[in-house]
Amino acid sequence: MRILVNGVWRESGAAGLDRLLAELGYQDAVVSTAVNGEFVATGARAGTRLADGDRVEVLAPMQGG
């Protein structure tokens, strides 16, 4: 299925959000996630099923004013 990750389409077989993060190499990173504009807490990632066309945001700490 195709998932839009941080604005880039990717082909992924990940059933859940936690598996997608592992595919991306983010399993140990300090990141926060949203699927289709809704916040998904760390504890809810494994239970969050992904479907073709889902939009996933993976955000990390960054400089800000």
Binding site: V31, S32, F39, G65
Partner: protein, 256 residues
Amino acid sequence: MQLYGAQVGSRLLLGTARYPSPAVLAEAVRASRSEIVTVSLRRESGNERSGQAFWALIRGLGVRVLPNTAGCHSVKEAVTTAHMAREVFGTPWIKLEVIGEDDTLQPDVFGLTEAARILSAEGFEVFPYTTEDLVVAERLVEAGCRVLMPWGAPIGSGRGLNNLFGLRTLRARFPEIPLIIDAGLGVPSHAAQALEMGYDAVLINTAVAQAVKPVAMAAAFAQAVAAGRAAWEAGPIEARDFAAPSTPVIGTAFRQ
């Protein structure tokens, strides 16, 4: 200064963006003696992992972080970003920005008050980036905000306090609410002016980060904030239109 029950010694808050290097950022934070720095969330890039290194650097500074919702243009975006920030940064503090106009980065005060109400009800401690408008400030306080952050001038413009009358009125109207000038200050005298007027603190980013010598400028802002606060506590005189001789006139020589 108390911000949502937290005792904060420094009245200078520092942004962490636009520094020439992470090392200069760290040195500037130390030179500013700030106890609070603002941070943000952005998309993590696959290879660079710059976010992880940045977060390690900030944690090493031993300061409080105030995450922002910079770049959000809707209530929904701002609320979702606030939830993501709370999880990553482990703080209920959120500098709430809902931008309404791109050229001036003027806050959308309608979206701001709505987002402030939602987030306050969810336990966030909201620092709203707002204008000096009194009625908006009233609505934000009603929504649960216990700190207000009015702009001095548009973000990054370095213009100082654009609306002195409005800012004075806001200070007078909300004597008990901590007021922090957020955005638009360019030089330390702007910061001193804000503190002299009774503002509780200032938040500086571009004026330090983009200075020729950011670390030296951070130290200069720290001095200005300390001087401005000391002046406010000392009670400044009222300005007047005509001269008032400082040397006693009684006993002046050569007069009839």
